[in-house]
């Protein structure tokens, strides 16, 4: 029973290898079987340990827990586990094809799943590093999977920039090992709480190294440049996976390391709120000006990560769980939008929203599902994005509140812009869409609505927080949302649509690789200034 986490890691990996070894297309069904086994195991595990997560800790080989590698689970990791299982189901159904030879793709997809489960559950810093690096390698292979020129350049950009970040993370682990004598996360948490080691320069420097590595992985400002490249060129299923859950791996690390240093006297919340707000505003600014449908969605991932950071950086537990909730909700609606956009791109053979017209007449069901996703991401009442944004808003001061409103306005504008694809005359006579591809999109739309309406019991069940004071709908909320849409429409009509010089400039603005690394060093130095040098003065 206690070893279920090990099975969760190894079932997808071994299934991946069996699929790879037997070269029959029919073996693809094994992926579904493995996924089913993982789901059953995870549910069983959750029901057993739901009341007391402190029992979930174990060490491989039964060694002293300071020496061996341990696994442990808590409410956050379990909820991440279920979220990732759900998204993997959707992507698997979406890309499933037993007639074609997809074993290479399934191999990488399922291996990534096993590795991601390991990343979520591990309690050892070096083991975490191994898993992060393995995810980086797997993601870059999945990005390059299409074997087109732009997927190769996106893959190498992703691989090198993220490896540089992960190596900074490793350097941090080294310094922590020499100061604490072990790399067990639980033990370091206790040692930080019980001693004043965290005030030494070494541990502060290690904290900065860990956090700047994570900043690359989780695409914070100014290090998000790899994300639009990688997420926009991958296959639609892979984009949904990357934007939905894999990029959240970085935020998960942020949560873990923040909790590890929770007892340390670092003033983190101001700094990370500022980073989050900048990320959100810059991301939404880029998103408003793009014309490529997948680029729009990818830049929205950046801006939504900023919003999550606004919540997660808070020390207040309610705002923090608001950030967490927004993370889950974003995984749902962003996967929905990417999968839906994938169907549209397949049918119309273009990614430019200028040339896509009449989607509503051609594919009414898909359009309704996409509109659900758009309403969720722009924070409409009754949908899940609204709930988590209200929870985050609740803990903000006035100035911070307006920052969030600016981001919301930008989101509304860019989705008004994107919604023009629905209008217009029907240009395609009979779109060829496989029925199977509709299923995950529809399920995700249902999940968005469920999270929007039944947020109180769900949040209580999973995260143990009471959200009863956040109502899903009222006249005031609808009015506010309508006002937001109106302002967004004006902004779109008179600024974005006119295509002024600055708008074009932002659209074509790309950061080169060496500048991205330069910014990494700059970010790193600023963090040193804030967390190491400033307290010494």
């Amino acid at each position: 029973m206690i070893f279920v986490p090990v099975y969760l890691v190894f079932v997808p990996i071994l299934a991946a290898m069996i699929i790879f070894l037997f070269q029959k297309p029919k073996m693809a069904y094994l992926a579904l079987v493995a996924q089913g086994v993982v789901t059953v195991l995870a549910v069983w595990y959750f029901l057993t340990f739901r009341d007391d997560y402190s029992q979930t800790f174990f060490t491989f080989g039964g060694w002293n827990n300071l020496i061996g590698i341990g696994f442990r689970n808590d409410a956050i990791s379990i909820s991440f586990l279920f979220l990732s299982i759900f998204i993997w189901w959707m992507v698997l159904i979406y890309t499933f094809n037993a007639k074609k030879d997809t074993r290479n793709f399934l191999f990488f997809l399922l291996f990534l799943e096993g590795v991601f489960f390991g990343l979520i559950q591990t309690n050892d810093l070096f083991n975490m590093f191994v898993f992060i690096e393995l995810t980086t390698i797997l993601v870059s292979i999945l990005v390059a999977y299409e074997k087109a020129g732009d997927s190769f350049r996106a893959a190498i950009y992703y691989l090198l920039l993220n490896t540089a970040g992960v190596l900074a993370f490793l350097l941090g682990i080294i310094l922590l090992y020499y100061s604490f004598g072990n790399i067990n996360i639980n033990q370091i948490t206790t040692m930080i709480a019980s001693s004043d080691l965290s005030e030494t320069t070494t541990v502060r420097f290690a904290y900065v190294l860990l956090m700047s590595g994570i900043a690359v992985k989780s695409a914070m400002f100014p290090l998000f440049t790899w994300l639009p490249r990688a997420h926009a060129v991958a296959k639609s299923g892979v984009s949904a996976l990357l934007s939905g859950i894999v990029v959240k791996g970085g935020l998960y690390l942020f949560i873990r390391i923040s909790l590890m240093f929770a007892a340390a006297p670092y003033d983190t919340s101001m700094f990370f709120f500022a980073i989050g707000a900048t990320t959100a505003i810059v991301g939404v600014m880029f998103a408003m000006t793009q014309k490529d449908i997948k680029q729009i969605l990818a830049y929205h991932t950046v801006s939504q990560i900023g919003i999550m950071m606004m919540g997660l950086s808070s020390t207040d537990s309610l705002t923090f769980s608001g950030g967490l909730l927004h993370l889950y909700n974003h995984a749902l609606f962003k996967s929905l939008l990417f999968l839906g956009a994938g169907i549209i791109v397949n049918v119309y053979k273009t990614k430019n929203i200028k040339y896509i017209r009449g989607v509503f007449r051609a594919m009414p069901l898909l359009s309704i599902l996409m509109i659900v996703g758009m309403l969720s991401i722009s924070g409409s009442p009754l949908f899940n994005g609204f709930i988590s944004k209200s929870v985050i808003k609740y803990g903000l001061t006035d100035a911070q509140y307006w920052l969030l409103q600016i981001v919301n306005l930008g989101t509304a504008t860019s989705f008004l812009k994107m919604s023009q694809i629905f209008f217009g005359p029907r240009t395609l006579s009979y779109p060829l869409v496989r029925k199977r591809e509709y299923l995950p999109v529809a399920l995700l739309a249902v999940a968005c609505l469920t999270m929007g309406v039944l947020h109180v019991p769900i949040a209580d069940f999973v995260l143990d927080v009471d959200l009863a004071k956040f109502k899903p709908i009222s006249l005031q909320y609808v009015f506010e949302y309508g006002l937001m849409l109106g302002a967004g429409f004006l902004l779109y009509k008179y600024v974005i649509d006119k295509d002024y010089k600055p708008v074009q400039w932002i659209r074509n603005f790309r950061i080169s690789f060496e500048t991205a690394n330069y910014m990494f060093l700059l970010y790193f130095t600023v963090m040193i200034g804030v967390f190491v040098v400033y307290p010494m003065l």
């Binding site: 300071l66 590795v115 004598g181 320069t201």
Partner: protein
Amino acid sequence: MVKQALLLVLLGGIFAVFYLVTEDLSELYNNFGKTYFQLNGLLETGSRNLVTAIYLDYRLFDSFFEAGILLVAVAGIIWISKHDLNEKNAQFMLDRYKTPDLFITFSRIVYPMMLVFGFYVIINGHLSPGGGFQGGAIVATAILILYYIDHDRETNIKQIVTIEKLVFFLIVLVASLSLLTRGEFFTNFMPLDSSVASKAIYLVILNILIGFKVALGLWTIFTAFLREGR
């Protein structure tokens, strides 16, 4: 120019902070792990080489994914490099007549020695410096030399990749045996109180498997590169 100067200032600043860190570390230095391994390492794992004791027993879980990274990279490189896995190839990219005869002759002498040395390092991994990963790399280098000697060699990549995957299965299987004998995941399958000599059986088996896997993985990687160079 300004950019470069600023960059140097940034790096200088980071270096200055790191200087303070090293000053700090000598006081902080915590040797808990070192003491533990020195006292218990041999008795608990049966390995004289404490490094081997760590990566084959205490932290075996890491080693899986270390082997797994190689596995994934091999599969990825093969996928990226070409469409058809069945194609037989790996012709040497250098012209035969440009490789000096002296080099070929010496390669012939060195090849068996390297192979034997590689196996020695793998098998004695628990007694002397070395182990599966290091020895596997040496064996792979020896195989690379083989391409200098006989550059018309053909390698069936598909077969190697299949064997590599099977070896990974075997590694997981051998490591999981401890679940049956000791009720613990991923450790020595011999009971904890058995003698050092009997524990070594497990270490040798696992070192050989890992060495095999690493050698095959590296072999595939450079075969893929040789093919690109054509």
